[in-house]
């Protein structure tokens, strides 16, 4: 009887039922779409940040150099014979490593951070810039060469990376040729090269690249792998940390620490603990970095989080209100019917149950339709949304992972793959990196289930209002109503 009565009643007021279900569907569909868009934007932001941070890194720790220590690590020419002057017309070539704007910190700090309770893992890296300068010593009389010649410096970024764990820039990439660095390579002169840099400089597995040192001497490294780094990564060459420390004369030092928190909710606590452990360090999280992101990605994030959410909430509230009004109106039209049922001995709760059942069916129908609408809306976003760009602004003291762009000759990231020339000219502080990401709008089962639950709640709220009205009916008054 319950289902028969329910089915027949909904069929009788089919138009009204469709309006209620449609209203709920629209509200719920919008919520699903906006949630998917927000998730897509967050995913894009994570993608941007991961391309800079490396997957798994929640926090980076750096330290600004002491005032007066030299922004570029005290770049000096190391001559073969100190005190002697190269002969006029002779060719001088110097290949130096520089730490740039990050001051070295003890590698022991990495272990100290790793021992913090809320930290899942920590890894240190030494971010360097290799600057090769060659020129002909001017001097002598006039004529060709007499005035000397100076070739623009050739630079590329180097990251000395730890070989344990999966934090840092190298694990974020995909090896496309050869292999990655292994623990056994800790003291070897081997390197993994970024695919964009390799393509532009015609480097392949087995090639040899020259890496400078603090003293200006050159060491030849064998390329054992080519890695495709996420868009925005600024490292050209990866070598073992111990070798980078030895070449840069910074034994036991790193200048970038990557930290993974135990949980997303623990990032704030980890940040505070690190700041307490290393008071002079600059501790940067994804959240603080995200606030510096500009570009169409930031606009999309703002749109999804503010306008999108408010719009979805407003439409949903309107749908709930409409469902309530129509349900109460339907109950009002059935006053005599409910009065008759009470006269037949139906208790109020049975009548309320009937009204709630009808509202529940409408809620389920609206929810299912809304979930489908939302899924379609998200699919449209995936199909039609243009690629989004994100440019990371440069805040004082903030650490952008990769770091090389803050070093002389650092790469800006630029379009996917990086616009690297065969050794760029000296650029000084590079421009902020711009990353391009494609918008996704993922719809998870959890979101769909929550959306349907939302519509059901809306239906039950409407049914509650209608049922309350039905329960309050006095049979005599109800029967006195003219149908």
């Amino acid at each position: 009887m319950f289902l028969t009565y329910l089915r027949r009643e909904l069929r009788r007021r089919a138009r009204q039922a469709v309006v209620i279900a449609l209203g709920l569907a629209l509200g719920v569909g919008l919520v699903v779409t906006v949630t998917a868009a927000s998730a897509g934007v967050q995913s894009a932001q994570s993608q941007v940040l991961h391309s800079l941070y490396g997957v798994g890194t929640d926090i980076t720790v750096t330290q600004s150099p002491a005032p007066g220590s030299g922004g570029f690590g005290g770049f000096r020419f190391g001559l073969r014979h100190p005190g002697s002057q190269p002969a006029a017309g002779s060719r001088v070539s110097v290949n130096r490593l520089s730490t740039g704007t990050y001051a070295p910190v003890a590698a022991a700090d990495v272990a100290a951070i790793a021992r913090l309770p809320a930290v899942a893992g920590a890894s240190g890296a030494l971010l360097l810039s290799d600057i090769r300068l060659s020129f002909t010593v001017p001097g002598g009389g006039g004529g060709p060469g007499g005035q000397g010649s100076f070739r623009p410096p050739v630079t590329f970024s180097i990251a000395g990376v730890g070989l344990a764990g999966d934090l840092g820039p190298l694990p974020s990439g995909t090896i496309t040729s050869g292999r990655t660095l292994a623990r056994a390579d800790a003291k070897a002169d081997v390197a993994v090269v970024d695919s964009g840099y390799a393509a532009q400089n015609k480097i392949s597995v087995g090639s040899a690249i020259a890496v400078g040192s603090a003293s200006g001497r050159t060491t030849r490294f064998t390329v054992i792998g080519i890695v495709r780094e996420p868009s925005g990564s600024a490292t050209d060459v990866f070598i073992p940390l111990a070798r980078a420390q030895a070449l840069a004369g910074l034994a036991g030092k790193v200048n970038m620490i990557y930290v993974a928190a135990g949980s997303a909710s623990g990032i704030g606590r980890v940040r505070r603990e690190i700041s307490s452990l290393l008071p002079k360090a600059t501790v940067t999280t994804a959240a603080s970095l995200a606030s510096q992101v500009t570009g169409s990605l930031a606009s999309a994030a703002s749109l999804a989080s503010s306008l999108g959410r408010w719009l979805a909430a407003a439409v949903l509230a309107a749908a709930f209100a409409l469902a309530c009004l129509l349900t109460v109106a339907a109950v009002a039209r059935r006053v005599r019917e409910f009065g008759t049922l009470k006269a037949l001995g139906w208790r109020s709760r049975r009548i309320v149950g009937q009204v709630m059942g009808e509202a529940l069916v409408l809620g389920l129908t609206g929810g299912a339709a809304g979930a489908a609408l939302g899924y379609g809306g998200a699919a449209l976003i995936r199909l039609l949304a243009p690629p989004l760009t994100a440019t990371l602004g440069q805040a004082s003291g903030s650490a952008a992972p990769g770091g090389a762009r803050f070093l002389p000759g650092g790469h800006s990231g630029g379009p996917p793959g990086g616009a690297r020339g065969p050794g760029g000219p000296l650029r000084g502080l590079a421009t902020a990196p711009t990353v391009t990401v494609h918008m996704t709008a993922p719809v998870t089962l959890t979101v769909l289930a929550a959306a349907i639950a939302l519509a059901v709640a809306g239906g039950l709220i409407a049914g509650g209002f209608g049922g309350w009205r039905a329960a309050r009916l006095r049979p005599a008054a109800a029967l006195a109503k003219v149908g």
Binding site: T4, T340, W346, A476, L479
Partner: protein
């Protein structure tokens, strides 16, 4: 069966307006009696019927049914009494428009807690019992007025109540159908020995009852036995005449 003692019902209108539908009505109705309640429109007949059926509460006084004051019962208790003991027949039939004839009767059996199959069987038998075997699955909109009232009567009697309360059951019917319905009610009353309280403004209908009560301006007056042979049910006795 029924004992009404100084029952008053006052309706509140807008502001300070008051309408006294019943003014100190005292009445006794015996088991198996057929009482007709007559009177002009708006003089309290339907109000009296609603009080007898527990559909409303008096402003003062008591309405006792088998020794229990209906006004003192809680919602669940009064609903149970209506479900088992009272059958209603309304002037406008009051069938549920979305349910078929058999399903309308079944709706009256739902509160009894019968198994669905048995409920369905009893409902169909009740509809067949009023001569509508071939209309079991028809909606009210597919039935004539007389047929709808027959379904309403079947619905009222399917639960085998001890009291049948009919409020102008022929008010919306033509003369021929009116006679048909009254004859049906009379036959069922005689056959089942139930107590029948029938509100009507039609004197011809009222004359068929054992007793006639007249309501005017909320005041009740019991008339003498109607002219013609006493209409006593087989084995029953006429209820005492009281004012």
């Amino acid at each position: 069966m029924y004992k009404l003692t100084e029952v008053t019902k006052v309706y509140r209108g807008r502001g300070t307006q008051r309408v006294t539908a019943l003014a100190g009505v005292s009445l006794t109705i015996g088991d198996g009696e057929w009482l007709a309640v007559q009177g002009p429109t708006g003089h309290g007949k339907t109000t009296l019927l609603q009080l007898l059926g527990g559909l409303d509460r008096p402003t003062s006084g008591s309405v006792e049914f088998n020794g229990r004051d209906l006004a003192g019962l809680r919602e669940g208790e009064i609903a149970a009494v209506r479900a088992r003991s009272f059958g209603f027949v309304f002037q406008t039939f009051n069938l549920i428009p979305t349910l078929s004839a058999a399903e309308n009767v079944e709706a009256a059996l739902v509160p009894l807690g019968l198994p669905a199959a048995r409920r369905r069987e009893r409902a169909r038998a009740a509809v067949a019992g009023v001569g509508l075997r071939d209309r079991l699955d028809h909606l009210p909109s597919e039935l004539s007025g007389g047929q709808q009232q027959r379904v309403a009567i079947a619905r009222a009697l399917a639960k085998e109540p001890s009291v049948l309360l009919a409020d102008e059951p022929t008010g919306n019917l033509d003369e021929d159908t009116r006679d048909e319905i009254i004859s049906l009610l009379q036959g069922l009353w005689a056959e089942r020995g139930l107590t029948l309280v029938l509100v009507t403004h039609d004197s011809q209908v009222a004359r068929r009852a054992q007793r006639i009560a007249v309501l005017r301006q909320g005041l009740l007056k019991i008339s003498a036995e109607p002219p013609g042979e006493p209409q006593s049910p087989p084995g029953g006795s006429a209820a005492p005449v009281r004012t």
